[in-house]
């Protein structure tokens, strides 16, 4: 069960993370692979990861708005399916780099391009094998006050500033955070 008032961020038991779990700064993103704003913010996240190096632990949770983004759910399934095959982050990057083509056929192509078992992945996508997990991510976000995508949490606190490099980096690297 995910804590309602303060998110346990990130949760090494379930979350996809980049960086060391005991890094001083934890950045969590709630995102949707078909959301253009999430796509635009990806290079910013990459640059922040590059700048902060070992000081940062980055985690991603799914927040698909499936009515406005018809391919978002399957794309999230594909990321989770790739995760089952040890390739969550490569698929994550692939999906954000190809937001205009997230139909099932394209998802299978991306799996193959990443050297994954595309047949297995697409079966998981179609059967909704990871639907429950994705919905758990969504619900945890709603509880934490996510009101749209992308939403960021810095050490469990929601970031309400602009989704641009300088303000996000400034908020993340406040002196108190890197003791």
């Amino acid at each position: 069960m995910i804590n309602q008032t303060q998110l346990k961020l990130p949760d090494p038991e379930r979350d996809h993370i980049q960086g060391a779990i005991d890094a001083p700064i934890a950045l969590l993103e709630y995102g949707d692979y078909e959301c253009p704003f999430c796509g635009e913010v990806q290079p910013i996240v990459r640059e922040i990861e590059r700048r902060l190096g070992d000081d940062l632990c980055f985690a991603f949770r799914h927040f698909p708005l499936t009515n406005v983004h018809p391919h978002a759910e399957h794309a999230a399934e594909a990321a989770e399916g790739a995760g089952e095959q040890g390739a969550f982050w490569p698929m994550h990057e692939m999906l954000f780099a190809n937001q205009a083509a997230l139909d099932d056929e394209s998802l299978a192509e991306y799996a193959a391009a990443l050297g994954l078992n595309a047949k297995r992945l697409i079966q998981e996508v179609i059967s909704g094998a990871h639907a429950q997990r994705i919905h758990e991510d969504f619900k945890s976000g709603v509880r934490a006050g996510v009101n749209g995508t992308p939403s960021f949490f810095i050490n469990g606190q929601r970031y309400d500033g602009a989704r641009a490099f300088e303000p996000l980096l400034a908020a993340i690297s406040q002196p108190a955070r890197i003791a």
């Binding site: 009515n67 406005v68 190809n98 937001q99 709603v142 749209g148 500033g161 989704r163 641009a164």
Partner: protein
């Protein structure tokens, strides 16, 4: 292709696909901070719809508080159908007043609630959106955003219901971005007025609905 070409090609594809969205963004630029604007220190929170401050007057909402009876109303839900609050007696209702169809923040807010209907239903509640837009405007908005809950038109007399709930902005001619959770007996259980440019999310609604459910469970066991 090199990585750069790849990125450019995919961004080209994306910009074609999102063309209509981008048109909307351009048209509504006065509502949407650009990256440059977002970077200025005077506008640190523009990600949260700061620009709305210039569009809307300052107001002091006097939203109906918890414990009072929720005024009944009957409004058009479609061009030829009407919906009354009293039809929902016996179950909790979430009333989400919002300023206008099509404006960016409302879009996000309604899109979010649309994804959460299952959660609301699991808590026994129905969701209703209300704005001063007419029924045909609501119909087009709901169709475009694939909304699966009713949008009521507080259209004639304009804003009458919003006024009765204490969330009408006279100077702007629209309602506040206000949330009410009405209990099964028709009393206001919880209300909240968000800054007009800020999507209040759904955590407050869920807490209020759970609170109601817990109360009912306590009543049932005593």
């Amino acid at each position: 292709m090199t990585g750069d070409q790849d990125a450019r090609a995919s961004s080209q594809l994306r910009s074609n696909r999102e063309g209509s969205l981008r048109d909307t963004q351009i048209r509504f630029r006065f509502l949407m901070p650009t990256t440059a604007e977002a970077n200025t220190p005077t506008n640190p929170k523009s990600g949260q719809g700061n620009d709305y401050k210039e569009m809307y007057s300052k107001s002091r909402p006097k939203a109906l508080p918890s414990g009072v009876e929720a005024p009944d109303f009957t409004l058009r839900s479609t061009p030829d159908q009407w919906l009354a609050l009293s039809e929902f007696r016996g179950q909790p209702v979430v009333l989400a007043f919002y300023p206008a169809d099509w404006s960016p923040v409302c879009g996000d807010q309604m899109a979010l609630y649309n994804e959460m209907l299952k959660e609301f239903h699991e808590l026994g509640a129905e969701l209703i959106g209300i704005s001063v837009d007419g029924a045909w405007c609501h119909a087009a908005f709901a169709r475009d955003r694939k909304l699966h809950f009713p949008l009521l038109a507080d259209f004639e007399p304009k804003g009458d219901v919003a006024r009765r709930y204490g969330v009408y902005r006279d100077k702007d001619g629209v309602s506040e971005r206000a949330l009410f959770v009405i209990d099964a007996e028709g009393q206001v259980h919880w209300s909240f007025v968000s800054p007009i440019g800020v999507n209040p999310g759904a955590d407050g609604i869920l807490s209020a609905l759970e609170d109601l459910q817990n109360k009912q469970a306590t009543l049932a066991t005593t």
